[in-house]
């Protein structure tokens, strides 16, 4: 591709607004875009018609397009690009934008808008896209002058992908797409105000390693920031964990940054985290938080959260420091740069850990680990959902496997049980908790990794929210595997109703489910069903082998609950390990208020 990214204002070339969009995408190295055409973006679709080097993936709903772009972005480290029309095109994208904002996913969403002279007139398919998307984007722009368009597009990519990544929207009126103006390249765009801080304060780094060297009960608590910083950060984390010998736990978003097969790995922490991870968080004396944000799913009851620890907090976003939890050593920086400095000072200052204390700490952790908090009672007659995920993991081990999920019990079981070894292989909706994320996300992942095994671990309720995207998978020959843990309930809703609402299962049972196998047929993909433990392995193998999209209906025990669990409003050291302990647990009135 011949592209001159250094075009300056002096040698700017004249293009139409629509041509500028295509040119800017090429100059930004974009190869795939996800979208849906409509009246207000027809000039851009027209300019896209003859273009080589950019593949447009026609999704079936704009929400699907945004989630596909999120999956693409998370699995590649590149921004996901979306093209949708005005009005409903833009409003349908709002869920994906909010999801990407909460989980720090770089998205560039281009929306068509009615012609500038019609804005404010309640024109057909007009909406205040900028007003609607202002709180759910990192930044957004309405481009009223075609001569601003190339600058704005390049700024959009810069803002989406640097600092704390996030979604941006560029709203382009139809007349601006037709008008001619001058195009400048990305190299000649410099933002007036946006300068994210990425270099760590070295004094803070030294303070941090001081605390770490003197720690008696340390823990690494890592998050999605390590993944967003790039594969280098995960490598450096592994080195730091190895050199210190400290235990490591991670948030939902951070899974894969540290290999789950490593003995220093304690599993995920938080509401459905492991006993050893949560107890270690509660009892530690030095907490090293790297790229996580003390989310309420992680902390449990905030005033009882890790009461006796000194806290180090590395985050690229200064607004996360002291937001939920007061910390002792804040480090505002990019994770890769900060980890490099931590390792550098640790080595050059010849730091040593307190080995006897650490050995005693590990002994304590091994005691907790002995509880086997992820264990469950298996069955020979009915498929337990945990068993299904265990078998899925065992039978896909050693392959290049990417996992996406929907939201609910299946998501937590997947996070607990599927062992991730590498970053960027786990795509899930963490912050927003968007049911319907996983199927379109898997399409985005498969588009970026055509030869990989891409599996959406789904629930039968979630998957129906964006089911239409199976058509997209079929159209583009994307052999995604939609592995539906079908318990006929909105499982997590049912679990909370059991625990908090006296077993009154209000509207959480799906009395009319589609036949997913027949549905697969209708979509032109492969339908498989496993109803007993005996047939599970063979069916999973069949799913893996077939090079076509698959809807897998895995019929599981409808009443299984997801444990361990920290109830709402409870601290880390009050975990519930199974149903049998229910009697002992009382959810406080304050706890009931929490989501």
């Amino acid at each position: 591709m011949d592209r001159d990214t250094t075009l300056t204002a002096q040698d700017a070339i004249e293009l139409s607004g629509a041509e500028m969009v295509i040119r800017a995408l090429k100059d930004q190295g974009v190869e795939h875009i996800f979208g849906y055409p409509g009246g207000a973006v027809l000039p851009i679709y027209d300019a896209l018609f003859a273009v080589e080097g950019i593949t447009h993936v026609l999704c079936r709903h704009e929400q699907g397009a945004t989630h596909a772009a999120e999956g693409y972005a998370r699995s590649t480290g590149k921004p996901g690009v979306v093209l949708v029309t005005s009005g409903p095109g833009a409003t349908n994208a709002v869920t994906g934008l909010t999801d990407a904002l909460m989980d720090s996913i770089p998205l560039v969403v281009l929306t068509g808008q009615v012609a500038t002279h019609l804005i404010g007139n309640d024109a057909f398919q007009e909406c205040d896209t900028i007003g609607i998307t202002r709180p759910c984007t990192k930044h957004n722009w309405l481009v009223k002058d075609v001569n601003d368009l190339s600058r704005v597009l390049h700024e959009a990519f810069q803002i989406a992908t640097t600092g704390r990544p996030g979604p941006v929207v560029v709203d382009i009126p139809k007349d601006v797409q037709f008008k001619k103006g001058s195009y400048i390249g990305p190299q000649s765009v410099k933002h007036r105000t946006y300068k994210p801080k990425t270099d760590p304060d070295l004094a803070a780094i030294v303070k941090a390693i001081d605390l770490m060297a003197n720690a008696k009960r340390p823990i690494f608590y890592t998050g999605g920031g390590i993944i967003n910083s790039g594969p280098e950060a995960a490598k450096l984390l592994r080195e730091l964990v190895a050199i210190t010998g400290f235990p490591v736990t991670s948030t939902l978003m951070g899974l894969g940054a540290f290999p789950a097969s490593d003995p220093q790995w304690l599993g995920m922490l938080g509401m459905h985290g492991t006993y050893e991870a949560n107890l270690a968080m509660h009892d530690c004396d030095v907490m090293v938080c790297l790229g996580a944000r003390f989310d309420d799913r992680v902390t449990g009851r905030i005033d009882a959260f890790s009461p006796n620890s000194k806290k180090i907090h590395l985050d690229i976003d200064a607004a996360q420091i002291n937001k939920n939890v007061r910390v002792d050593v804040p480090i505002v920086a990019d994770a890769t740069k900060a980890l490099k400095e931590m390792l550098h000072f640790w080595k050059t200052q010849r730091r040593k850990v307190d080995a006897p204390a650490l050995a005693a700490w590990w002994k304590q952790i091994e005691d907790w680990r002995g509880k086997k908090s992820l264990s469950f009672k298996n069955s020979t007659t009915i498929i337990k959902p945990q068993h299904a995920i265990d078998r899925l993991y065992e039978l896909t081990k050693g392959r290049e496997t990417y996992i996406t999920t929907e939201v609910g019990q299946h998501q937590m079981w997947a996070a607990q049980r599927f062992k991730f070894e590498e970053p960027n292989h786990w795509m899930t909706s963490g912050g927003l908790g968007t049911m319907g994320y996983g199927l379109p996300a898997s399409i985005g992942v498969q588009m970026a990794h055509p030869d990989a095994l891409v599996i959406d671990i789904a629930g039968e309720a979630s998957v129906q929210m964006t089911m239409q995207e199976m058509s997209t998978a079929v159209q583009y020959n994307l052999p995604v595997k939609i592995f539906i843990i079908n318990n006929e309930y909105m499982g997590m809703v049912r679990q909370w109703q059991q625990l908090l609402h006296g077993g009154r299962y209000s509207s959480s049972y799906s009395e009319a489910l589609p036949d997913f196998v027949k549905m697969a047929d209708a979509f032109g993909c492969v339908g498989l069903r496993a109803s007993t433990p005996d047939e599970l392995d063979d069916k999973i193998k069949e799913m893996i082998e077939v090079r076509r999209p698959v809807l897998f209906d895995c019929r599981v025990d409808p009443k299984e609950n997801c444990y361990p669990m920290i109830y709402s409003g409870a601290p880390h050291n009050e975990m519930v390990l199974s149903d049998s302990e229910d009697e002992a647990v009382v959810v406080t009135e304050e706890g009931k208020m929490l989501v």
Partner: protein, 172 residues
């Protein structure tokens, strides 16, 4: 450490220098409403036409933790150049202007004029039964003036909100 100690709410005056682009005020105001922060007063105008910068002055209230969070959240907004808290970071001077309409006859009318003189308020419009006063000062002074005018026939008030600047030679 993590205990959410009930610390008293305190009023803070925060100045924000922003690029004067479309919707920038909505971003700042939306941040306050979206995250549940208070706005007690807000003033905005372009301050440098050539550089296209505007200055927003917001009086807000909250615990020290909330104020720290407000400042950090404002700094995340892309078109923001600088954020200064005049209540903490630097000693600032605050002024507010109000236009105050008072309607009355006889003694009340002359009393209103007498108090206006004490407050150094200017009369910028008058008829046989009404005055419009222009008063400038710290917000508390304006409050006091309004309290005194209320029994004397106060019918209408328009306040600008607080403008603030630092003492000494330094710019924001």
């Amino acid at each position: 450490m993590n205990m959410q100690i009930k610390t008293p709410q305190q009023s803070h005056t925060i100045a924000i220098l922003v690029d004067n682009e479309a919707g920038v005020l909505a971003r700042v105001v939306g941040l306050f409403s979206g995250r549940g922060y208070n706005i007690e007063s807000l003033t905005v105008a372009e301050v440098d036409h050539a550089k296209r910068t505007s200055r927003i002055t917001i009086v807000t209230s909250g615990t020290p933790e909330v104020i720290e969070q407000i400042e950090a959240q404002i700094k995340r907004l892309v078109p923001v150049h600088r954020v200064v808290n005049w209540t903490i970071a630097k000693p600032g001077i605050e002024r507010e202007m109000a236009l105050v309409k008072v309607v009355g006859h006889g003694d009340k009318r002359s009393e209103a004029m007498r108090i206006a003189e004490i407050f150094r308020a200017r009369i910028i419009d008058t008829g046989h039964t009404s005055f419009v006063f222009e008063i400038t000062g710290a917000p508390q002074k304006v409050d006091n003036f309004l309290d005194l005018m209320r029994p004397l026939g106060l019918v209408d008030v328009s306040r600008t909100g607080v403008a603030a600047i630092s003492r000494g030679p330094e710019a924001m």
